[in-house]
């Protein structure tokens, strides 16, 4: 039952209004422009027969005489194994010159997971990056952002995580991506081989703003289907600030009253609805969500990082190309540290961070020209060892190797009794000569 209309009555922002009968909220329409372009639009409201359509590719150049066809179905995305290795736009069409995907479509933005069916997360996601695995262990079903100043290598970090992780499937959602970054991801994944287990939904900075908003929903709908099919999925979304800015732009063009710095009052719920897709399904797969949230002006109290902090389970701070060991926190780490990882994990990690904090103070004393004690000098040596071996994002080691490395660094810099670690661990794992 496809209906066609030929008269657009009003165009404003990304919204086009038509007179139409029997259309449903959320229904998709196709707009065919005079110059032969075809774009999708979604019914976002109606008042009697006046129907408002949000046009995915924007209303630029749309004419009052363009042809509108209602498709009697909501936005969907094809799903199947043939998505792996492929790249799609924010409206779900292939942008990698590959063929159309002929798989059964699934709904996007589906219902939420029943809390009473959730389980306490207890499995680790390995990234082989020490600042994550060893100090802020990621747990299956966790949702965690990378808080970063624009310009930091956050996309490099995501690419690295994707290539080193033991997850079964990677779904990457890019929002407001620069073309260079998109190419970077593609090349990196091809080289590392991760591309074969990866699906990408990419909205480039130059693409229409409505498509930006669709990216997380497409990515998460696909991730959810894989999870139901017993796959552990890592969903990477970059940059959620671009996503929020797209929400802001659309809300303002629809004359919604903004709540805080122009962002709509629903920003918290809009972000949470996406992040909360993270889940570990009992007896089946899982979704773990790592995002990038760039902080305008390096300000954590900016509405986007602020609302995000209230939703996620901790955060990684990216500073000067490294994951900051102090502000970063995985709120779920205690679920796996020393439980699924080696018994000394938690104590070793805490001791190393404590020593690094002391070492930072010694570095301050050094830079202020104070005389340094013998202990200060040990700490200094330790700080350089720690930074080059543990904090470097290029390190790629299994968690057990990371722990061994940690013990080696301690042995290299300190005496056995200076670490404050339990005798039990020192005896079992310490690397000092007996």
């Amino acid at each position: 039952m496809v209906k066609t209309y030929n008269r657009i009555e009003r165009i404003k922002g990304s919204i086009a209004q038509v007179q139409a009968e029997g259309v449903k909220l959320g229904e998709l329409a196709q707009i065919k422009t005079k110059d032969g372009r075809v774009t999708l639009a979604e019914v976002i409201s109606f008042d009697h027969n006046r129907v408002n359509l949000q046009v995915y590719s924007g209303t630029k150049g749309v004419s009052t005489g363009d042809q509108i066809r209602f498709l009697a179905r909501p936005m969907r995305v094809p799903f199947g194994n043939s998505l792996l290795g492929r790249v799609f736009s924010g409206s779900g069409s292939p942008i990698d010159n590959g063929p159309e995907v002929l798989e059964e479509p699934i709904d996007i933005g589906g219902p939420s997971f029943n809390p009473s069916r959730r389980i306490i997360p207890r499995k680790m996601v390995k990234t082989n990056i020490p600042m994550i695995d060893m100090f802020n262990t990621l747990v299956i079903s966790q949702k965690i952002p990378i808080f970063s100043i624009p310009g930091e290598p956050y996309n490099e970090l995501l690419a690295r995580i994707a290539s080193q992780t033991d997850a079964d499937i990677i779904v990457l959602g890019g929002m407001g991506l620069k073309f260079d970054d998109y190419q970077y991801f593609k090349n990196y994944f091809s080289k590392s081989g991760a591309i074969d287990k990866t699906t990408m939904f990419i909205h480039l900075a130059s693409d229409p703003v409505v498509e930006c908003i669709l990216v997380p929903d497409l990515a998460l709908a696909v991730a959810e289907q894989f999870a139901i099919q017993n796959k552990n999925v890592l969903c990477l979304l970059t940059d959620m600030t671009a996503f929020s800015d797209a929400l802001k732009e659309i809300a303002i063009s629809m004359e919604r009253v903004p709540s805080n710095r122009g962002y709509p009052g629903s920003l918290y719920s809009d972000l949470a609805a996406r992040y909360e897709k993270a889940v570990d399904i009992e007896g089946s797969g899982s979704i773990t969500v790592i995002t990038v949230t760039t902080m305008p002006g390096n300000d954590v109290t900016h509405p986007v990082p602020d609302n995000t902090g209230y939703i996620t389970e901790g955060q990684f701070y990216l500073h000067g190309g490294k994951i900051d060991p102090f502000g970063s926190l995985s709120r779920l780490k205690q679920q796996v540290m020393g439980k699924v990882t080696r018994k000394d994990h938690s104590d070793l990690a805490n001791a190393m961070i404590r020593l690094y904090a002391d070492a930072k103070k010694a570095r301050d004393r050094e830079s202020m020209g104070f005389r340094l004690s013998a202990w200060d000098k040990k700490l200094l040596k330790y700080s350089y060892e720690f930074e080059s071996n543990m904090m470097d994002l290029a390190v790629n080691l299994d968690i057990d190797e990371q722990l061994e490395l940690g013990w080696s660094i301690l042995a290299k810099c300190f005496d056995r009794n200076e670490t404050g670690l339990k005798a039990e661990w020192l005896d079992k794992y310490g690397k000092w000569d007996k």
Partner: protein, 580 residues
Amino acid sequence: MDKEFAKGRIVAAQGNLMTVEFEGIIRQNEVVYVQTGSEKLKGEVIEINGNEAKVQVFELTNGIKLNDEVSFTGDLLFVELGPGLLKNVYDGLQNPLEEVAQAKGYFLPRGVYLNALPRGVKWEFTPIAKKGDTVEKGDFLGSVPEGVISHKIMVPFQFQGKGTIIEVKKKGSYTVEEEIAKIKDEEGKIHSVNMIQKWPAKFPLRLGERVLPTEKLSTACRIIDGPFPVAKGGTFCTPGPFGAGKTVLQHQISKYAEIEVVVVVACGERAGEVVELLREFPHLDDPKTGKKLMDRTCIICNTSSMPVAARESSVYVGVTIAEYYRQMGVDTLLLADSTSRWAQALREMSGRLEEIPGEEAFPAYLASRISEFYERAGVIRFKNGDTASLTIGGSVSPAGGNFEEPVTQATLAVVGCFLGLSRSRSDARRFPAIDPLISWSKYLDRFAEYGKVDNSAIIKKAQEFIHEGNEIGKKMSVVGEEGIQIDDIVLYLKGEFYDSVFLQQNAFDKVDTATDEKRQKEQLSIIKIVLDRDFVFEERDEARSFFLNLTDKVIQWNYTPMDNKSYGEKKMEIIRMIEG
């Protein structure tokens, strides 16, 4: 009721807000159902104008179209009350989530509304009233054991005037739907009563006389029970930036507070946090009763990805259930995490209604809604002189962690106790991160006035050390330790000592996690000795290392169970150390 309810049809829709053209008589806040395809979606009337009503739908609205049928129910949004509420987990519309999962699987499909109370369970009924008694609404007809409490079956709260009992069922087991009594009203009409009551969620349920809360609620959290206590029947709030520890604190209180029934409302926060309660509570013992914690707990869970409109009602559903238990004479505690999410739900709806926005786009009535909510707390006295309380604690999530925002400010204006969590304390891992410099409780003086606490002198003194110590600390960071008098350093160290061994508490140590009143008293007696004593130190370092050692000793003592043999020894050792 047999009257015809109004009917209508959808004429406009945007997001969750529907405009409905109707025929018949409708009420503000009446519950409606929108029929879309094969699904029936619940909604609520929020504005009426001529023959058009604005309806907010509690679920995803995809697929709704012009002329979809709307049926009015004549009822306001009500809460189903009766035995079986405890141990249960509901969404914001009181759907039992476990049953929904059994019927529908992993996800929460829309348009599923199941009975809140289990219909098949038989309850052991013991009559209290007898034939011929004169009764009125809220009077006890009988009781059934529910977990740890004796659940009273009451004369329906809507019952008008005096009634005469025609019949009460004899002792035996009955389901909630079976008749357990017949009551004749003043007009001679006979009412059949079963165990189910219904009450409109947005109206306070309070039968009895309100009296001033003067009893202390023991939370086993020292920084609360000491300097910032909460009254049974009082209100408190815990605002704080993300990650400051609001949720951990609420979970702690829900576990250890000395109270008979706890209602937890997880309102617009993470689903994962509710799961901890769901999975842990059935296994944790309630030290007071020996039963499981879950037996005294009811959880309302409308987490952040569940429909926003139902988030608004979740808070009211929770507080109505809590009031219901208070009505049977049970001391009840309601915890809501986070009231800011509820306020945001109000804001979203207000925006769609195009109401004139107030500060940060919150509606102008935000403050009055917040105060109406907290006002549902309180102590009531019944006809027989017994009293029961409902205590309400809400967490607040201020934007940017800045308390100068509408929700925090409106909350501070109505609560009796403010437990402000600060970023500086959580960053320094001084947990619970309640900041002793900004928090306050109006109950501390009241308890002293009513002779209900005897530690207020030492607590007040310790607080002075905290404030003065903080001033000295600030100076120290400017001029360095060298610039400070040794006496002042000792004062500062005494403040730090009190902070470390009393105000801070390790939630992850199985002994320190909860401290009862008796033990707090002992700890305070040690603190009193330390604060009162004139220590003489030659060197600053000497003072520092003395207090460092002392602090460490007391913390170790805090980790020792009271019934452990070494408990007394450790205490003596501490006293010897103080007295040099």
